[in-house]
C-alpha cells in the first residue's frame, strides 16, 4: 500500500470515511473525531493484514458490545473483496451493488442501501384483536393513532404531572450541612484561616441522599392491552422525571425501551416504542421473560440498590416452577419489588390463578394500578421508606 493511500484524501482514507458513514446509518454512532483517530491508528497498524485492519477499526469505532454484530456485518459487506482494499473507487455504491452471497442483517443492509424491501416488512398484518394469551405471537405494530383525542389529552395532562416519590436512600457521598454528624476537616481548616485562631468552628457534613435506580417491567400482552397504553404514558413520565430509570416491556419476549422513552415528546417516544416492540398483545410468558431479565439485564441495571416495579396482571400462560425460581431470583437481586396489578381494582380480587399466587410470595408491595387515581395514589405508599413484605396469607 502506497503512502499516498494513507494520506488525508487518499483513497483508503476516503473509504474509511465512507465506511464510518455507513456504520452511522446502521445505528453505530461514529463521530468525526473517531474517524480521524482511526486514520492515525491505521498508520500505526498498517493494512497488510485484514484482521489487524478489522480490529483497528473495531477498537476505534465501537464502544459497546452490542455494536459488534452490526460492525461485523458492515465490515464484511463493505470490505468484501480483498482486492477492493487496493483498488477501491470512492463511493460505496459500487461495492454495495456487488452480487450478494449471504443474507445480511437488515439494518446493515438498509444502511448500505442494499435492499428496499425492508420497508415492506413494516406493513401491518390485519388486525385481530384481543384474545388473551394467544399462542401465536402477534407480530404486528400497535397503532397509537387510534387513541381518542380526549383520552390522549387527559392522559397527557394527568400522567405527565405524576411524580413518583420513592423514598430516597443515603449514598456514601457527603454534602455540607449545618447539623451534620460528620466533621468536614477541609472546610474547618479553611474557615479557621479566616477567623480567630483561638476558636476553630467546626464545619459539618452529612450523607447525601438520592433516589435509588428504578426498573419498570411492564406487561403488554393481550390481557393487559387495555392498560398498556396508559402505562406507557406513565413510564414515559417517570423516565423523564429523573435519572437512572430503566424501562422494559414484555409479552412473550423482553424489550428494553428506555432509549425510546427518553424522548421528551411523549408522542414521538411512544411512536418509537411501537416501532421497536414486536409482540404487542401477544401471549404472556412471565416466568420466561423474568428469567431472561435476570440473565441478561439484572446485573446491568439492578446495581446500586434498584427498586423494581413489575406491572402485570399475573396471568401467566405457563406458570409453574420457572416462575417461582425467576421471581425469587429477582426479589433477591433488588432492593424492593413492587407489583402493580390492574386486576386489583375489583374489591373481591382473590389470588386464585397459580401464577398470581406464586408471584405474591416474592413481592414487597402489591398495589392496584387501573386508573390515573391509583397511579397517583402510589405516591403515598412508595414514599414510606420501609414496609413489611406483603404476604398472601395475611
Amino acid at each position: 500500500m502506497s503512502p499516498a493511500a494513507m494520506s488525508p484524501g487518499g483513497y483508503l482514507s476516503e473509504n474509511v470515511v465512507h465506511f464510518a458513514r455507513a456504520l452511522r446509518r446502521a445505528g453505530v454512532p461514529v463521530g468525526p473525531d473517531r474517524v480521524i483517530d482511526a486514520l492515525r491508528a491505521l498508520a500505526l497498524t498498517g493494512v497488510a493484514r485484514r484482521d489487524d485492519f478489522y480490529w483497528t477499526l473495531a477498537t476505534l469505532f465501537l464502544n459497546r458490545r452490542e455494536q459488534f454484530e452490526v460492525f461485523d456485518q458492515a465490515f464484511g459487506l463493505f470490505w468484501r473483496r480483498r482486492e477492493l482494499l487496493d483498488q477501491i473507487r470512492p463511493g460505496l455504491q459500487d461495492i454495495a451493488a456487488a452480487d450478494d452471497e449471504t443474507l445480511p442483517g437488515q439494518r446493515v443492509a438498509e444502511a448500505l442501501g442494499l435492499t428496499r424491501e425492508a420497508a415492506l416488512l413494516k406493513e401491518a398484518t390485519p388486525d385481530e384483536t384481543g384474545s388473551a394469551a394467544s399462542h401465536h405471537e402477534q407480530l404486528r405494530q400497535k397503532d397509537f393513532d387510534t387513541m381518542s383525542s380526549a383520552e390522549l389529552a387527559e392522559a397527557k395532562k394527568m400522567i405527565a404531572s405524576l411524580r413518583l416519590p420513592i423514598a430516597q436512600i443515603p449514598t456514601r457521598r457527603l454534602r455540607p450541612s449545618a447539623h451534620g454528624r460528620l466533621i468536614d476537616m477541609r472546610a474547618t481548616l479553611r474557615a479557621s484561616m479566616r477567623g480567630n485562631l483561638d476558636v476553630i468552628p467546626l464545619a459539618r457534613r452529612s450523607l447525601r441522599k438520592r433516589h435509588p435506580p428504578l426498573v419498570v417491567l411492564c406487561d403488554i400482552s393481550g390481557s393487559m392491552s387495555r392498560y398498556s397504553r396508559m402505562f406507557l404514558h406513565f413510564m414515559h413520565a417517570i423516565t423523564n422525571d429523573r435519572d437512572r430509570v430503566h424501562t422494559f416491556v414484555f409479552a412473550t419476549r423482553l424489550s428494553n425501551i428506555t432509549r425510546y422513552l427518553r424522548h421528551r415528546d411523549v408522542d414521538m417516544a411512544l411512536g418509537d416504542v411501537a416501532q421497536a416492540v414486536s409482540d404487542w398483545s401477544g401471549g404472556t410468558r412471565i416466568g420466561a421473560t423474568i428469567s431472561e431479565f435476570n440473565l441478561r439485564w439484572s446485573r446491568r441495571v439492578l446495581g446500586q440498590n434498584a427498586v423494581v416495579m413489575l406491572i402485570t396482571d399475573g396471568l401467566d400462560r405457563e406458570g409453574g416452577a420457572q416462575l417461582n425460581d425467576s421471581m425469587e431470583r429477582l426479589r433477591k437481586s433488588c432492593r424492593r419489588l413492587i407489583w402493580l396489578n390492574p386486576l386489583l381494582r375489583f374489591d373481591g380480587f382473590e389470588p386464585l390463578a397459580t401464577g398470581v399466587r406464586i408471584m405474591l410470595e416474592h413481592v414487597d408491595d402489591f398495589l392496584p394500578a387501573h386508573n390515573i387515581d391509583s397511579l397517583a395514589g402510589l405516591a403515598n405508599v412508595l414514599a414510606k421508606p420501609h414496609q413489611a413484605p406483603f404476604r398472601s396469607a395475611a
Binding site: G31, D33, D37, R40, A41, L44, T45, D51, D52, W55, T56, A58, T59, L60, L62, N63, R64, R65, F68, T171, R172, R173, L174, M185, R186, L189, S192, M193, L197, D198, D243, N294, L295, R299, R300, V301, G303, Q304, D325, R329
Partner: protein, 307 residues
C-alpha cells in the same frame, strides 16, 4: 518512539510476544487494541464478563514494561479524598498550633504554608501523574462500581492527564501514564468517558486458546486432564447458566483436580468440585448429576483419547 526502546511494543506482533512472554495468552484482537492504546497514548477501556483477565492485563503490562502499577479499586461513593488527594489535617492542625505559639507568622503566610504540597496526601490518581523515569501503569478497576460523580471527575484526568487542586493549582503529568480501565458492566459507563478511551470487549477464549492458558497457568495438570477440563468448561459456557465460568474458574478447577490427584475427569469428582466453577446454587443444582455425566460422556466421545 525509537529513542526509548522498551517504552512501547513496535507492532501488533510485538505486543503479542510481549504478553506471551509474561504467560498472558491474548488473541490478536486484544493485542491490536492494546498496541493502539500504548502507541496513541489513550486509555484502554476493557469490558467483559468477570474472570476473563481484564485486571490481569494491567499487571502483565506493568511487569513486562517494567513500570510501577498503581491500582484504584472503584466502589460506590469513591470520592476525591480517597482517589486523588487529601490534606493531612492533623499535621495542619499542629502547624497552626505551632504558628500560634511562635506568634510571629502572618495569616497569609500560614495559609499558604499549610495548603502546600508538604501537607498533601497523594492518592492513586495523583500518584499516577507524578514525574518518573517511566510513566506508571494506572489500573482503574471496576469503574462500573463507582457512581456518576466520580466518572465525571475522571474526565479531566483521562482527557488531559491532569488534576486541579483548588489550593495549589493544576498538576499535570509530564508523560501520561498507561491507563487501563476495566468494567464488569453492572451499569453502562457514560459515553463521555468512553469517548476518551479505546474500547475492547474481552470475550471468553476458544478451546485452543483456553487450553494454552491452562497449560501455562496450571502447569501441573497433565495434558489429558487439561483437555478435559477445557472441553467441560466450554460446554458449560454453551449452557443457559446464570453465571458462566470465566478463565479464572477454569484455572482454579484444573488446579483443584491436580490437588485431588485426578488424572482424568470422572462424574463423582466433577460433582464434588463444581463449586470451583459455578458460583450460584441454581447453576450448581442444574449441572450436578445427570447433566455433568452427559457432558462428560460427550467429551469422551469427542476427545481422541488418551485413556
Amino acid at each position: 518512539m525509537p529513542d526509548k526502546p522498551r517504552l512501547h511494543p513496535d507492532s501488533v506482533d510485538d505486543t503479542l510476544k510481549l504478553l506471551s512472554a509474561a504467560d498472558y495468552v491474548a488473541g490478536r484482537p486484544l493485542s491490536t487494541a492494546l498496541f493502539l492504546a500504548l502507541r496513541m497514548g489513550r486509555p484502554l477501556l476493557l469490558e467483559g464478563e468477570a474472570g476473563v483477565g481484564k485486571t490481569e492485563i494491567a499487571k502483565v503490562l506493568a511487569q513486562t514494561l517494567d513500570r510501577r502499577l498503581i491500582r484504584l479499586q472503584c466502589y460506590e461513593g469513591l470520592d476525591i479524598a480517597s482517589a486523588v488527594y487529601e490534606w493531612n489535617y492533623s499535621r495542619q492542625m499542629i502547624e497552626i498550633r505551632l504558628a500560634e505559639a511562635a506568634g510571629n507568622e502572618s495569616r497569609q503566610a500560614l495559609e499558604n504554608d499549610i495548603f502546600s504540597q508538604r501537607f498533601l496526601i497523594r492518592r492513586p490518581l495523583l500518584q499516577a501523574l507524578e514525574p518518573s523515569d517511566a510513566p506508571p501503569v494506572l489500573l482503574i478497576d471496576e469503574l462500573d462500581r463507582s457512581d456518576e460523580p466520580f466518572e465525571a471527575y475522571l474526565l479531566e484526568v483521562l482527557a488531559d492527564f491532569q488534576v486541579t487542586i483548588p489550593e495549589i493549582g493544576t498538576i499535570r503529568a509530564e508523560r501520561p501514564p498507561i491507563v487501563i480501565i476495566t468494567s464488569n458492566r453492572t451499569r453502562e459507563i457514560h459515553d463521555a468517558v468512553k469517548r476518551r478511551c479505546l474500547y475492547h470487549w474481552i470475550d471468553y477464549p476458544g478451546s485452543a486458546e483456553e487450553l494454552e492458558i491452562v497449560r501455562r497457568k496450571a502447569p501441573r495438570a497433565q495434558q489429558a486432564l487439561a483437555q478435559q477440563v477445557v472441553a467441560f468448561v466450554q460446554k458449560l459456557r454453551a449452557m443457559d447458566l446464570f453465571k458462566l465460568p470465566g478463565i479464572a474458574e477454569t484455572i482454579d478447577w484444573a488446579n483443584a483436580m491436580v490437588e485431588l490427584n485426578c488424572q482424568s475427569l470422572d462424574p463423582e469428582t466433577v460433582n464434588d468440585t463444581l463449586g470451583a466453577l459455578l458460583k450460584y446454587q441454581d447453576d450448581v443444582a442444574r449441572v450436578r448429576g445427570d447433566e455433568a455425566s452427559r457432558i462428560l460422556a460427550e467429551i469422551r466421545k469427542e476427545l481422541p483419547l488418551n485413556h
